[in-house]
Each structure stands twice: as C-alpha cells, then as structure tokens.
Symmetry: C2
Subunit: 324 residues, 2 copies
C-alpha cells in the first residue's frame, strides 16, 4: 500500500531515476564476478533511493542534465550502500529488507572489501567532477557519517544521555547525507547559492525526521514491515529517541534497563514493545519527528515554484509518516 504510494510519486520522473539506476549498475563493473555480483545484488535489492531522488529533484532547481546529476547521485548512493554493507558485517546481519546480505552470501571478508570497493568507485566518480566544493561536501559527508557511527558506539548503553546527544548523533549518521544529496543536486546543476542553501536545510530537516521515524519503527513496526525483528536497537544497546524519553518514565525505566542490559527474555521484550506502543515516549518522539518535518516543508515552500517542488514536498511527507 505505502510502497505503492512512493512508487506513484516516483512515477513522474521514472526515466531519470532509471538512468541513475543504470549508472549505479555500470559503476560497479569489475572483472571479479564475485565482486560485481555482490554489488549488483546489493543494488538490485532496492531500497527507497531517497538520496538519489533528492539529488535529482534538487537538480531541477538549476540547469538539469541527467548525466551530471548522476555523477553526484551515484557516489552518494554508493557511500550509503557501503555503510550498509559494513553495518551488516558488524551486526552479523543475514537479512536486510528481507533479502540476504552480502555478508551472508559471500562472507565477512568479502563484504568488507565490497564496502571498500564501493567507496573507491565513489571516489573515482567524484574525481570526474571538477568543482572542489563538491569534493569538499562529499568527503565531509563521508567523514561525518563515520564520526557519527563512532559516537554511536561511544554512546552505547549510556542510559543517562539526553535528547541533544541523540540529535547530534542522527544528524551525522543520517541527516547530513540527505542534506548533502539535496545540496549537491543543486550545486552540480548550478542553482543559485540561496536555493542551494535552502535545499541543504530542507534535506537536513527531512533527514532528521526520517531517522527519528526509523528509530520509532524499530519499536512499533512488525517483523514483516521491517524485514527484521523489532526491538533490535534496544537489544544491541543503541539508545534511540523513544528509549531516551521512555527512560524518564518510572513505569518504563526498569524494563528498558533490563532490556538494554540483556536481562530480558525474547517474550518479555515483545511485551515491553507492546507497552511502549501507546506510551507518551512514542507520542513525544512522533511529535519531535513531526516538528522536523514541518521545518522541512516550510523550507521547501520557500523554494522557487517549479513542479518538482511539489514532488519534494510529497516525498518529505511520505518519509516522515511512513510505516516501513
């Protein structure tokens, strides 16, 4: 149902997206059949392609040229894919979006180098773009993602962290890559500086709302919706927004601490997730996500009035409200 909705929004610019998809496939060509096979399987397993879509739409605010837009969209998506592959190595994950991971098909060592290869290809494509500003944005984005992941490790099991710690972390982990996708789309198309700044801010706010929604779904989603069991963040010590707020609630706190410290059976976790579902922790998290979404929409509405602006707004709304 909801996947259909996203598909229908995307249908308006399907040829452009298909072009990017072909370029993505082409970018992982290698004489090693294992390497190319692993990358193609990864690309083929889909995902929402949120970042390329934003790069594409942002490009429409300048002089749109599909080939040039792809040169920004493809490396960004490769960086994103590399981080997924590396996450799966570490999380020892066999499934992602219901499909087998590179790690589970080819082993940890291969997955590690598939990720590094994707970063290398990304670097190669970036090298074809001559604007040093673009290099700066892309390398900064990659660094910040890594710093975000490291801070996430440092903050693991830190039950006394506050909202600010969480927001700082998801900014780096997620929001900056989406902000960069929007910024670079405008930049490569030569959009005016004010528009580029607005696009970047729009992407940042959407990204924050996107990650909070993601973290909410880990509490409220079903295994079928998520493609993996719910509660994973909690059980691995990754303290996200609903947990931070829930830890302030004397009714939830002891149970959350038990779950975080591995003192809880699978059954009890399912029960805890159930009692979280209609808690203030979840409602407050939804409100915070909504506030970012509103800021994103306000930013979008201040952009030049072209048809693609509506698509940006519809995708932002979809992302902030999605159920998978």
């Amino acid at each position: 149902m909801e996947k259909l909705k996203l598909k229908s929004i995307y249908s308006e610019f399907r040829p452009d997206l298909e072009y990017i998809e072909r370029e993505l496939n082409r970018s992982v060509h290698s004489e090693s059949p294992m390497l190319e096979g692993a990358c193609l399987a990864l690309i083929g397993s889909g995902g929402k392609r949120i970042r390329p879509v934003f790069t594409l739409l942002a490009s429409k605010f300048g002089d749109y040229n599909p080939a040039i837009t792809a040169k920004a969209a493809v490396p960004l998506e490769l960086i994103h894919m590399a981080s997924l592959v590396h996450d799966d190595v570490i999380d020892d994950a066999d499934l992602r979006r219901g499909e087998r991971t590179v790690k589970s098909m080819y082993g940890n060592h291969a997955a590690m180098y598939v990720g590094d290869f994707l970063l290398g290809r990304s670097l190669e494509i970036i090298g074809e773009l001559e604007d040093p500003e673009i290099h700066r944005v892309l390398s900064q984005t990659m660094i910040e993602i890594c710093v975000g992941e490291i801070i996430q490790i440092e903050d693991k099991f830190a039950t006394e962290q506050n909202l600010r710690d969480y927001l700082r972390r998801i900014k780096r982990k997620t929001a900056l890559l989406i902000a960069s996708s929007c910024e670079l789309g405008g930049l490569v198309a030569g959009a005016d500086p004010q528009t580029v700044r607005k696009l970047k801010r729009f992407g940042y706010y959407v990204g924050m709302s996107f990650q909070i929604t993601d973290d909410l779904l880990d509490f409220t989603g079903t295994e079928k919706q998520l493609g993996k069991p719910a509660g994973g963040d909690l059980l691995s010590g990754n303290i996200t927004l609903p947990a931070i707020i829930g830890l302030r609630d004397p009714g939830l706190r002891p149970k959350l601490l038990d779950a975080l410290e591995g003192r809880m059976s699978t059954e009890d976790v399912v029960q805890l997730l159930g009692s979280m579902k209609d808690s203030e922790a979840i409602r407050e998290s939804v409100r915070i996500s909504d506030r970012y979404l509103e800021k994103a929409l306000r930013e979008a509405e201040s952009l030049p009035d072209i048809p693609d602006r509506d698509s940006l707004i519809r995708i932002a709304k979809f992302i902030g409200k999605r159920k998978f």
Copy 2:
C-alpha cells in the same frame, strides 16, 4: 639490527619524514576522543612507512615542496592504514607488529568505522589537490586494492592455481599502491613524464618483491620477527608463492594439502614449516623475488642521477632482502 639499518637510511631525510608524520597525526583530528585516539595509536604503532618514503624520494626528482608531497603521501598512507584496520577486523587479529590492534582495543564496530574514517580523510586531502590525474591514480589504486582482496578470497583454498594467478593478485594487493606512491610523488612535484613512468615501474617491481618477501617470511620467519605466529597464510587458506611451488613437490604436497584443509595439528604445522625452510619451494620463491628486485634496481639506475636515487636503491635492496 635490520631495523637499525632502515633507520640509518631514513636518517638522511628525517626532517621531511617527521613533517609527513606530523601531517598524518594532524589528519586524524576528530572531536570524538575514541576515534582520534584509535587513529593516533595506529599511527604511533609505526610500520616502515615505505609508501611515504617512496613518495618523498620520488618528489625529489621534481621541484620538491614538503607540503605538497605530504598531500600525496598522507592520503596514500591513510588508505594503507585503513586496509590494515579492516584486515584486522576480518582476521580477528588482536596483535599487529606486536601491538594491540584497533579492533582489540575498541571492538569490531569501531575498527570498521575507524577504517572508513581514514578513507574519508584520505578523500578530503585528495580533494585539496587539483590535478584530476592525481584523483584518478588514487581512486584507481583504492579500487584495485579492493579487487585484489576480493580475488584473494575467490582464490582461497584453490590448490590448483598457478604462478600467474598469484602474481596478478599481489600486484593489486600490494605492488600498485607502492607504484602509485612513487608515481604520485613524481607527479605532484612536476617531474617530467618519462621520470614519472620510471618511478611508477620502479615502485611496481619493488612492490612485487616486497610482497613475495612478506609471503616468504610467513613461512620462514619466527614469531618474534613477525609479531605473530608463522604459517598464518597457509592455515587461513591464503595460498602464496612458496605454497604454490611446494604443491608441485610430491614430498610436500600431501602435507600442504593437510594444512590448507585444516587437518593438521599446530605441532605438525611447525614441523611442516621446518621442512619447507630448506626446500626448493623457498629457494625458487627467493629467486622470483630477487628477479623483481633486480628489475627495480635497473629502473632506478636509469633515473636522473641525484643523491636521492641512491636512497631509493638502498631502500629497495633492504626491502627485498629484509628478514622481518
């Protein structure tokens, strides 16, 4: 003894190397203490700095400027360090050069992102260099390293592989990065194209000899020399030159197959390494390494006659003949 020898060769250009070392330390600055600490520990644990030394010496064949040379040497060394950190995650290695690995100090997840962070910083510094040729060389090098690692996985336990398979693999895994270190040193200093080509070939031949020597040492070195137990390649199914040649010897073949297929006790492995030591397999491997070293020396001797040419030659000889 031998470490002293390398130190004495390096002493001639110590201030330049110290400058690169400072730039390396500076390049990993981060507001995350864990991240910066892990990187500084990694840099501090040393290594022979073969690649920066080659970049430095190659730069002397043009207009030498330490700051510009460092901009090529630092990202190359960061790429190299990233691949070491990622290898340690996969190999589950707790020690490297007798020091604790990032993985053992901070865990797998952190080590993964420390590696990715190093690649990101590398990309950032490369971005400051404007010559697109330099971007091309660096991204190609990174890609080839990954392809080399993946092919190494594909070739694992493949007992029927030949010399060509092995040479193709180590070219990508090791020789290209050293070739690029030499090539980029010349390139950033504006050395003439013929000299740059010679430097690249020199680096390639040295790199081949370097890796063959490394693979030999895994058979002939002591745990003290290697900083880890000998025989690791064999036991992990990584079939290197001495094993490829040894598999052709009817006396060694059954034992090598037993070791490769995990049917051998630790004691028997020690015995096998002992009987390899004065085998034709080892002698032939040494001869092949020496042949690459000779080609490297011939290439070096055809370079313009400046004092640094002698340093290149002395380091090449040292690398090809080293015992650790």
